[in-house]
Assembly symmetry: C2
Homo-oligomer: 208 residues x 2
DNA sequence: TTAAAATTAGTACGTTTGTACTAATTTTTA
DNA sequence: TAAAAATTAGTACAAACGTACTAATTTTAA
């Protein structure tokens, strides 16, 4: 990729993350970089194009993480390692998550893509749960659609954990590695079998 | 309260809910009402003042709901009824939740108030759980801070359920009464005792 | 080395933003 | 009913917005 284009994306990411997407204009980005607004428009005709470039960067990173997890065996430890790396990526592109509603409302390309994405994510999750049940670590569902509902909650937590931190914490900025993984682990704990809970409690102390 | 002031708040609420807080200017509100911008500035000098008036309306409604719940006995049915009414209120003031990060970032008054609020909410929740444990409906915690973590997740779901719907659903606008209560119920189900689960399964069919 | 292409700077346009100000009108009060 | 207060309309302004345009410069390629 072009050198300037890369620099623009880096600056935009930093500014979006710091001040929030609606608070950062194209001029602020070019000023921040010390380049002319015309130069910026040359590389990205619209602000939406910058958003999209960053969004698809994020998506590619996450796809790569999913691919890597798919290669490993199904285990609690691997799941947790995956969630951990997932949250690091989320944090790197946190403006996407902190302003996700605004982003989707004002950018049809991203909105359409994301809506497709979460459908396949859900299927992936349910397949994984099935494998966990087969391996005797997760219990069978006790309620209709119990694991579909679990996924729904986990999705909300993945998408909005940073937002929740942002509006809760008194500290300015974020602690890069908070308790997100611990929160995720607690979400799945009640669905484990005795065998699963035992394994879980061996791993847990490492995250507290 | 003044008649015009009331009309301004109603219009602002509707426009904020529909188009999103950052997409609605003071002029759009006055245009929508057919009053002059000068008139609007007379009643609310700054846009933030409108946000705050609506936010504190919301807070008052919720306080009233908490008060009403506090009067009733501790039971699953009463809890669910409460969550239901809670979500209706959230939906009425949905712009607060859909743009909550942007709102908090740009409005110090609301931000400060909210951060105080959730502290007392957490304590209320934990007290309630204790009562549920005493009544034999919830099990004891199996992990350190297990119910603190449950609360954290429930808080995220309460605050961001509408956002999750907004970015997930293909329908324009919202279905006023979605599956939020069902989602909440699934959150607490795994923590119930056998007695609690039995009670739960009697109530569940009413919500599907 | 010279022509073409890509990149950059600089400027400018029409809107919209938040907000301030004055003057007219309506309502309230004495 | 007259004076005072509250409310409303209308206008204006500087700043910022997204974006378009042209001209200069640099890089690439023939």
């Amino acid at each position: 990729m072009n050198k300037t284009k890369k620099k623009i994306l880096e600056a935009a990411l930093q500014l979006f993350n710091t001040y929030g997407l609606p608070n950062v204009s194209q001029r602020k980005i070019s000023d921040h970089l010390g380049i002319s607004p015309g130069n910026l428009t040359y590389h990205f005709k619209k602000k939406e194009n910058i958003e999209e470039a960053l969004y698809f960067d994020l998506v590619n990173w996450i796809s790569e993480e999913f691919r890597q997890m798919g290669e490993k065996e199904v285990s609690l430890q691997n799941l947790i390692t995956f969630v951990d790396s997932f949250f690091v990526t989320i944090y790197t592109y946190r403006f996407v998550y902190l302003d996700i509603v605004h982003l989707m409302r004002n950018n049809d390309v991203i909105s359409a893509h994301y809506k497709q994405l979460i459908i396949s994510r859900k299927l992936q999750f349910l397949r994984m749960i099935e494998q966990f049940i087969d391996s005797g670590l997760f219990r069978e569902a006790e309620l209709p659609d119990e694991y579909e509902m679990l996924y729904k909650r986990i999705q909300i937590i993945l998408d909005f954990y940073l937002s929740a931190e942002e509006i809760t914490e008194n500290t300015i900025g974020y602690r890069p590695m908070g308790n997100h993984t611990l929160l995720f682990m607690h979400s799945i704990y009640p669905y484990l079998t005795l065998k699963g809970k035992k394994q879980f409690q061996e791993i847990l102390p490492l995250y507290e």
